[in-house]
């Protein structure tokens, strides 16, 4: 245990094997409440797999995972899943799934839409929203659940700069409400804006885990240097 208290995420010597293939190997790191961690790495390095491991979608083959319970987490996907119902009802759905008192569901869902700047589309069918709006709806659902841990897997991939800034603003609102953030991205400018700490993955292993300032000033590994210089994607 560190001086900052019990970590909200503690992964110790965790590995994930699918058949004979190793997707993650010997991963150890702790994340404390209030931290803002960005996971970087080339395509196929294991960023999304790591987030899914933390959320319980995958179970480590070896090692231990100690993490906030599922009901205290929210996961944001690159392609936001939305249900065939209105934007407001999409948020009501997750609140009902968390057994929130019926009287509070609509009030909380309405507030979540306001946080994400989606009040004007509350009654619109979620499937008809733009990609950026659907992602903000996913974040509104996350805010509504008051998560202690927000896991965001490339939430701004394929979105315009404006939409990206709106997503980041909504993520900041969720953090301000008390969530710890672990985010993956290929957008280095975004990583610099968001991260306090960078975890860099290469071929399923952590090769760097440092403060964002130190990482971007002087990456220590060849893999990270080549990634930052755009030699690998």
């Amino acid at each position: 245990m560190s001086e900052r208290g019990h970590p909200i995420v503690s992964l110790q010597q965790a590995s994930l094997l699918v058949g004979a293939k190793s997707l993650l190997a010997d991963i150890s790191f702790d994340v404390h409440a209030g931290e803002s961690v960005v996971v970087l790495g080339a395509n196929g390095a294991g960023k999304s797999t790591l987030l899914k491991l933390l959320s319980g979608i995958y179970v480590p083959t070896f090692g231990t995972l100690d993490v906030a319970p599922t009901r205290e987490q929210a996961f944001i996907f690159q392609r936001p899943p939305v249900l065939r119902r209105s934007a407001l009802d999409n948020i009501r759905f997750v609140l009902r799934n968390r057994n929130l008192a019926k009287d509070n569901v609509t009030e909380r869902a309405t507030a979540a839409l306001a946080i994400a700047g989606l009040t004007h589309v509350a009654q619109q069918q979620a499937k008809t929203l733009s990609g950026g709006e659907q992602q903000r709806l996913a974040l509104a659902r996350a805010w509504a659940m008051s998560p202690k841990l927000l896991l965001a897997d490339e939430p701004t991939a394929n979105l315009s700069p404006l939409a990206t800034r709106e997503i980041e603003r909504t993520i900041a609102a969720i953090q301000a409400a008390g969530a710890t953030l672990i985010l993956t991205t290929h957008n280095l400018a975004q990583a610099k804006r968001v991260a306090q700490r960078i975890v860099f993955l290469d071929a399923g292993r952590i090769v760097e885990d440092r403060s964002a300032t130190d990482f971007f000033a002087a990456p220590q590994s060849d893999a990270a240097r080549r990634y930052l210089e755009g030699e690998v994607t």
């Binding site: 899914k52 959320s55 319980g56 979608i57 599922t70 009901r71 987490q73 929210a74 996961f75 996907f77 392609r79 899943p81 249900l83 065939r84 119902r85 759905f93 997750v94 799934n97 069918q125 499937k127 008809t128 896991l151």
Partner: protein, 234 residues
Amino acid sequence: MSLIADSAAAAAQLLIAGDSTLGEITRLSIAVSASATFMGAVLGLPLGAWVALTTNRLRSPFIVVLNAALGLPPVVIGLVVYLLLSRSGPLGALGWLFTPMGMAFAQVLLITPIIAALTRQAIEDAHVDLRDWFSSMGMGTSARMQTLLYEARFSLVVVLLAAFGRAIAEVGAVMIVGGNIAGATRVMTTTIALETSKGDLPLALALGALLVAIVLVVNGIAHALKSRLQVRHE
């Protein structure tokens, strides 16, 4: 050629005049098949959703049985139901043999596998994009079933209307179980078979035209409903 023309003209007269026998038979057909579709939905929708989502090791055998049941000849189902409902059969005490209840029971057995098999496919398709999200929220099988049955509602309406079309067009099982008793268990398909064998083609033709119309209307409604709802939601 004159036989066809004369029969068609007589059939048209029966339809235009609103023949009471024709109306009675049509109402019974719709009532029996609608009841069977309702019961088939109650059984088949959750069964299909469960098979789509379960990781139970019985899943594969279940799928094989379901798919095999799709190909069961209706007369075989009729024979099995007849044996079950006959006085000495295990369900004989119900007194359903040669009643509309027995006919609906046979149709339930006929269409439940169809509803379950098509539901399984619709739920699996709907689950693909939502699986990881549901897992990240810790949703169990029961909560997923409820959510996905609602999520796939447009496809499932079509499944149910197709099942109704299958039930109302069926003849073999209801003939065996119902006995084709005039005024009691005589439905459109069994009447068509009987009247054709007797050579009374006008009534058979009129019922045939009505049956085709019902199936067309049901499928038209299914198509229009699905298109309209999907346009609203996507």
